[in-house]
């Protein structure tokens, strides 16, 4: 019951704010090239999808975001594990990782285009570089978070270091890793758009830029809308995985408990 009421409220709030936006733009006669009315954005959205234009670019951006995310997360996980598990790697290599990561990726993007071209490859590389840092940091923190009592328990069972890693340290790190993935996913989408701004033949970022040249502000808004919905959906996807993997973690347990009560 409460759930149905919540959904109704969500829809109502959305409708009211759209309506208020529409009325404000019309009442104050704001020019379309500054702030388009919601109705114009909706029209642009409709036109974009019915001509098949948006689908193509959406697919392109989604592909590079997901592939870059996977690549970057895997890289971050491996580098993070190497740093967390090996003192020497931490001492000799971690400073370079941090230095590299403090370089703004926007500044790096033109170089990547030079190296990898204007195609999908260069955008994937850019996304991967942006997405991997949160994974590195969180994996390191996670792998070092294993409770000392639990490590002692494993040691008292004469477990080998690799058993301690797979049976204790990795599962203990999962809450951190999942939080890292959540951040990395959003970073990945940002990275994809940045890469497309710098040089690309397709994608929503490229679309925004070409619309900007044509003063198609309503079109830009419609793409921004798509991007934010895409970001939300990607985030929900990670959340869904998180809830399956971390059913034992206090944060998820509480959430599941609340939902059971609400139903």
């Amino acid at each position: 019951m409460r759930k149905r009421r919540d959904i109704a409220l969500t829809v109502a709030i959305f409708c009211v704010s759209v309506l208020v936006g529409e009325l404000m733009v019309r009442f104050f006669q704001i020019p379309t090239y500054i702030l388009p009315a919601p109705s114009r954005v909706a029209t642009a959205l409709w036109r974009g999808f019915s001509s098949g234009l948006y689908q193509t670019h959406l697919l392109h951006t989604l592909t590079e975001t997901l592939l870059g995310f996977l690549l970057g997360s895997a890289l971050g996980l491996l580098l993070g594990a190497a740093v967390a598990l090996n003192r020497y790697v931490e001492y000799f290599f971690y400073p370079y990782i941090v230095m590299f990561q403090s370089v703004p990726k926007v500044a790096l993007a033109p170089l990547i285009v030079v190296w990898f071209g204007l195609g999908l490859k260069s955008q994937i590389v850019n996304v991967a570089l942006v997405a991997c840092f949160p994974l590195i940091v969180n994996t390191i923190a996670g792998l070092k978070s294993a409770d000392e009592d639990r490590v002692n328990l494993m040691r008292s069972l004469a477990a080998s270091p690799s058993q301690i890693f797979w049976m204790l340290k990795l599962p203990s790190a999962l809450p951190f890793v999942m939080a890292g993935l959540e951040v990395a996913m959003i970073f990945a989408l940002i990275g994809a758009i940045v890469a497309e701004f710098v040089g690309s033949q397709a994608g929503l970022g490229m679309l925004i830029q070409s619309m900007n040249f044509n003063m198609d502000v309503a079109g830009q808004f419609s793409v921004l809308l798509m991007l934010s919905v895409l970001g939300l959906l990607l985030n929900r996807g990670i959340q869904l995985i998180r809830r399956r993997v971390l059913f034992w973690d206090p944060s998820v347990k509480e959430q599941l408990e609340q939902e059971r009560v609400a139903l």
Binding site: D147, R155, S156, L157, A158, Q163, M167, W248
Partner: protein
């Protein structure tokens, strides 16, 4: 051969004002199948001693042997129960019990059956598929005991296993531990800071003092088994408890 024999064992640690002995020339032995309790105030080095016996840390001087062989690392023929249950939240109760078996690559259906039987022994058979966080503190500690027994170790080392439980659960678990011990006949070394608990459970109580940790006295407990909780009110029980307590009062180091 003794199950556990400790000779002139010292363990030092360094602090700002130089080095201190947490344990100072400790010697004792535990016979096969015997239940020995070590009682002492907190900070007397009881846990340090247990860590050495579990192979988790090495002595500075002296020697500790299990069945005649010196301890120089963790061994698979002992089961350890810590003060906290230390269960892994991503494993179900049954999987937690099977952890030692998984570590030692001795899986199989036989082990699963053995685990369920042990859970039955502590009255938790219907919780096998639950997760640790769904259990009360006392139940979690029962799971920890079951886990320490699954690989059928010759010896159980227990480090204040009931210290964090409420008084009623604690008594209940004392009874259960006695029952398990009578059934399984393992050698048990039980560390506690509760004198009545030590006297209730043990065949022999070793009294420790602190700074440096030393064994002050050995008190045999000759109350017939199975002991019932009512035994705690009987004069012979009280006199043993009081004689141990007198030691701490004389030294002025008793805490709670």
């Amino acid at each position: 051969m003794d199950a556990i024999s400790v000779r002139d064992l010292s363990k030092g640690y360094s602090c700002r004002s130089g080095s201190m002995d947490a344990l100072h020339e400790i010697s004792f032995s535990v016979k096969e199948g015997e239940f020995v309790a070590i009682v002492g105030p907190s900070g007397c080095g009881k846990s340090t001693l247990l860590k050495i016996l579990a192979g988790l840390s090495l002595p500075s001087k002296g020697e500790a042997c299990l069945r005649g062989t010196p301890i120089n690392g963790p061994r698979r023929d002992i089961g350890v129960v810590f003060q906290a249950p230390v269960l892994l939240p991503w494993r179900s109760v049954l999987e937690n019990v099977l952890l030692p078996v998984d570590v030692q690559h001795r899986g199989g259906n036989g082990q699963r059956k053995a685990a369920l039987e042990l859970l039955n022994l502590v009255g938790l058979q219907e919780f096998a598929d639950r997760y640790p966080w769904e259990l009360s503190g006392g139940m979690q500690q029962r799971v920890a005991i079951t886990r320490a027994l699954i690989h059928d170790p010759a010896m159980l080392l227990m480090d204040e296993p009931f210290g964090a439980l409420d008084a009623m659960t604690r008594e209940q678990l004392n009874l259960e531990l006695q029952r398990i011990w009578l059934e399984k006949k393992k050698t048990v070394l039980f560390i506690t800071h509760s004198i009545p608990e030590a006297v209730f459970l043990a065949d022999r109580v070793l009294v420790m003092t602190s700074r440096p940790g030393r064994i002050l006295r050995e008190v045999p407990v000759e109350i017939p088994r199975p002991r019932r909780l009512e035994a705690m009110n009987q004069p012979e029980f009280c006199s043993v408890v009081n004689s141990i307590r007198a030691h701490f009062h004389a030294k002025g180091t008793l805490d709670a």
